[in-house]
């Protein structure tokens, strides 16, 4: 065959296969991108473009969240940037193929003639190859826990594609350099190096090598294109929109409950918001979420990663309703809403939001275990989950000196929203009274709502009982209207979260750690002694991850003269105690390993640390219990932040 015939054939084959591959790609991607997304519900995600562009630069450009795992993060950084730079070489390959019949040595004008670019592409090709080999090693040899459940073979297959694409590119370039056809050969040292391996071969052989490498290169590229819409590699297409259109609302603010035909909650694919469908298509099965999930850790059937994969599966191959077939009730009730999954995800996939939406459906259907049902019934009737009369809410105030003020009768500066646990739990009465005494001692003008206070509703909302949540908001707002105060302060991070982010038209809301921090900084609090303890501090989910308050409590601890030794999982990586998301109101029968016990062991392993400091009443309850059940009573004592403050005053 003459070169001419060959080149004509080449153009035809390239054209046809390019059309075929594009066709398959569209045929596979269309239902996902267009049909399903069009059928879904709207998500308000436009606006704040400055913030969004910045996000693109930091999280896509710099791949920030991926670097939590340094080696894989580096590898993916190169694969991503490699992909971007080498996409031009792919374009080059396609065009030179299409135009082979007129110009076999076609090179893209300007871009294809720019030396420095060729150098970057050449070096990056090598980096990609190394990164891919590392990726294979990670999947096949190391096989970390977070990959459990992910489609490993799919991942390895695509890695092989990329490796093949890159190696074939280098070989092809190498041949062309050997043949003297490359004007930028000086800018392609890696290709040259590769070519030098077979530089001894005849010119004819070089041509064959070049063409074979070309076909392999193009073939695998087009094959990859057809594979893109399947499984996790669709993220190549959707990752930029995913990061660009991420949720910029305060983390602790849930969207209102969707209703369909008078029924609240989501159970079918077309009831989801487009963002949630996009998330399902975008999930890369990396497992960073699964790694941090306390529910997964405890042996409950939930994994945020598997949740996304199941959603995706149901969207592509609907063999039943999303709920309860693809995603079961047990999975949905397992969530502690700690937000670690959303925090870790490099693509800002939202896991908590769809879980709550699906829980809303379960509540609408009345599908929940009896313990939760009783808790909700109690919350509805008595305004607290303990089933005690609302009249008993302020019983703890008896005997507190000076007497706690009633904010409904006297004007105070701070309204202290005490919260259910601090008010009703027998094990916490001590701490609550101490808090009142400390507040008085530091000269705070404060009062409480007494029996007009109701559960703030944070966890009621996250359990999916939106109607009950609205009722509680109503009752609390009525109580606020009757009281005279300037700022709300609360000792419960869950309360703090919902009052601050979800209650309408609220003034200033502070967590007591923030208030103490402010007062220490302004000199209003003076400690009489330095405690000198070595302590560790546990960031509550709803104070830390949800609302970014990490430093204020630490400053308060340090101000009391204590030294903080951080646990390995600290700040936004703090491991949830397991009480959130209404879990504290649910049956524990499926829990094999308690997250609270894991956390206590983590603290007990720190040398010299004997005090575990918390800033949340549920944490106090869970960890005190865990210290007992792990047999650490002699090594660790659990104290509330207020205990340190009281001691140091």
């Amino acid at each position: 065959m003459t070169m001419n015939t060959y080149n004509i054939l080449k153009s035809i084959v390239v054209l046809l296969s390019f059309l075929l591959a594009t066709g398959v790609f569209l045929w596979r991607a269309y239902p996902q991108l267009w049909t399903k997304l069009r059928q879904s519900q709207s998500t308000p995600r436009f606006g704040q473009w400055g913030e969004r562009i910045k996000g693109l630069i930091v999280f896509v450009g710099a791949q920030l969240r991926l670097f939590r795992f340094r080696a894989p993060g580096t590898a993916h950084f190169f694969i991503f940037w490699g992909f971007l730079f080498l996409s031009l070489t792919i374009l080059q390959a396609i065009l030179e193929g299409l135009l082979a019949f007129t110009n076999p040595h076609f090179v893209i004008p300007l871009i294809g003639e720019f030396g420095p670019l060729a150098l970057i592409q050449d070096v990056i090709a090598l980096c990609v190859a190394v990164a891919v080999v590392y990726g294979m090693y990670l999947r096949l040899v190391v096989d970390p826990e977070r990959y459990k459940g992910s489609h490993k073979s799919q991942g390895v297959m695509v890695l092989s594609f990329i490796l093949t694409i890159v190696l074939s590119l280098l070989v092809m370039n190498g041949s062309r350099i050997n043949l003297g056809e490359d004007e930028l050969s000086a800018w392609r040292p890696i290709s040259a190096l590769v070519g030098s391996i077979y530089s001894g071969a005849s010119a004819g052989t070089q041509v064959v090598i070049a063409e074979v490498a070309y076909w392999i290169h193009l073939g695998v590229v087009l094959l990859f294109l057809t594979e893109l819409p399947e499984g996790k590699h669709f993220h190549v297409v959707t990752s930029i929109p995913a990061v660009l259109l991420r949720n910029l609302e305060p983390r602790g603010r849930l969207a209102a409950a969707p209703t369909f035909d008078g029924h609240a909650g989501v159970s079918k694919a077309e009831q989801f918001r487009w963002r949630q469908l996009l998330d399902a298509y975008t999930c890369t099965e990396c497992g960073r979420c699964q790694d941090m999930c306390p529910a997964y850790f405890s042996g409950l059937p939930l994994s945020p990663k598997l949740l996304m994969m199941d959603m995706r599966n149901n969207l592509k191959h609907p063999s039943g309703a999303m709920v309860p077939d693809a995603i079961t009730e047990k999975v949905l009730w397992s969530c502690m809403t700690c937000y670690s999954c959303d925090q870790e995800c490099p693509l800002f996939i939202e896991h908590v939001a769809p879980i709550v939406d699906m829980r809303r459906h379960l509540v609408d259907q009345g599908s929940m275990d009896k313990t939760l049902q009783d808790a909700l019934a109690n919350l509805g009737r008595y305004g607290n989950s303990f089933g005690q009369s609302d009249r008993m809410r302020a019983k703890w105030t008896q005997g507190v000196q000076p007497a706690v003020k009633d904010a409904r009768r006297e004007e105070v500066e701070y309204l202290w929203f005490v919260g259910d646990y601090a008010s009703y739990s027998a094990t916490l009465t001590d701490v609550t009274r101490r808090t009142a005494e400390v507040f008085s001692k530091i000269g705070l003008s404060f009062g409480i709502l007494f029996d007009a206070e109701r559960n703030a509703g944070n966890d009621v909302r996250r359990v999916g009982e939106e109607g009950l949540f609205e009722m509680l908001v109503d009752k609390n707002k009525q109580a606020f209207a009757k009281a005279k105060f300037q700022t709300i302060v609360t000792t419960d991070p869950h309360t703090y979260n919902t009052l601050k982010n979800e209650y309408p038209e609220m003034g200033k809301v502070l967590h007591y750690a923030e208030l103490l921090d402010q007062m220490i900084a302004s000199g209003k609090i003076k400690f009489s002694k330095k405690l000198g303890y070595k302590v560790t501090y546990h960031d509550p989910c709803y104070l830390g991850r949800y609302n970014g308050v990490y430093d204020a409590p630490r400053r308060v601890i340090e101000a009391t003269g204590c030294e903080i030794v951080e646990m390995p999982r600290n700040r936004d990586r703090a491991f949830c105690c397991g009480a959130g998301g209404g879990r504290i109101w649910m049956d524990e029968k499926d829990v094999k390993d308690r997250p609270s016990e894991s956390r206590v062991r983590e603290a007990a392993a720190l040398t010299g640390v004997q005090t575990f400091v918390v800033a949340c009443p549920k944490d106090l309850t869970m960890f005190k219990d865990a210290v007992k059940t792990t047999g650490n009573e002699q090594t660790l004592v659990v104290k509330d932040l207020i205990d340190l403050v009281a001691e140091a005053l």
């Binding site: 929940m368 009982e465 109607g467």
Partner: protein
């Protein structure tokens, strides 16, 4: 199948109970009323029967604080007819209540009447057997399962010691429900609010409420602490040691 469920609201034991100045009755100032738990089970059982075999469920209650919300909740569960008896129920005992319910139920002409087997404030007998007599229907109590078969029902009757009997009763009949086959279902708040917009409560004046055949209480009091337990104090270790001593003395250790 038409099912009628008369219910009673009783003092909520979560609240503190105090005796009033007469010394013979509960102080109503601090009293809160709540649905009799067994009546809640009766409603659930009625709805279960309706779901299984079709029909209509009517729930009836004397007026009291919280009754409206409760009736709407039963509608959200599946009740078709809501009846509230109006009148002065302050001095009313179960005999009078039974007569009032009987009048209202006669107009419904149900095949089956389900009501809680007892209520914790019953003094003159429980509502079910009295109502059955006023309606001229047979009564079986302590029922934890109901199967309808033609013009009869098979009721699962519980005795002490775990013994159960399957009792066949000719309809129409009154059954005293101990427990519904599955625990009372949860109804989301949003659903109850929805129903409030569509369901209607039928108010019927209760005629001639008379408290005859009643029981007169001359004294009401909280049980004496004369027989109260000897309380053990101290740390868990102290109390454990004391208990071990007690067990040994009893010959159990």
């Amino acid at each position: 199948m038409k099912i009628a469920v008369p219910v009673k609201f009783v003092p909520d034991l979560v609240e503190e109970l105090t005796i009033d100045s007469s010394g013979a009755a509960l102080d109503t100032a601090w009293l809160r009323l709540i649905i009799n738990e067994f009546d809640d089970h009766a409603v659930e059982q009625a709805v279960i029967l309706k779901e299984r075999g079709g029909g209509e469920v009517a729930v009836l209650s004397a007026e009291a604080d919280g009754v409206d919300d409760f009736l709407f909740t039963t509608a959200a569960k599946g009740a078709d007819k809501l009846v509230k008896l109006t009148g002065d129920f302050s001095a009313v005992n179960n005999h009078a209540l039974g007569k009032a319910f009987a009048e209202a139920i006669k107009t419904i002409q149900p095949d089956l009447v389900l009501t809680g087997v007892q209520a914790h404030n019953d003094l003159d007998g429980s509502l079910g057997p009295l109502l059955a007599e006023y309606l001229g229907m047979p009564f079986v109590g302590y029922v934890s399962g109901v199967t309808v078969s033609g013009d009869k029902v098979i009721a699962r009757k519980e005795y002490s010691g775990g013994l159960v009997a399957e009792v066949e009763v000719k309809l129409p009949a009154v059954l005293g429900i101990q427990a519904s086959e599955t625990p009372p279902r949860y109804v989301a708040y949003s659903k109850i609010r929805q129903v409030m917009g569509t369901a209607k409560i039928d108010e019927q004046a209760a005629e001639g409420l008379d408290a005859a055949s009643g029981v007169t209480v001359s004294r009401m009091f909280q049980p004496e602490s004369a027989e109260r337990a000897a309380m053990l104090e101290g740390s868990p270790e102290d109390v454990s040691d004391k208990l071990i001593g007690i067990f040994k003395e009893a010959g159990a250790l």
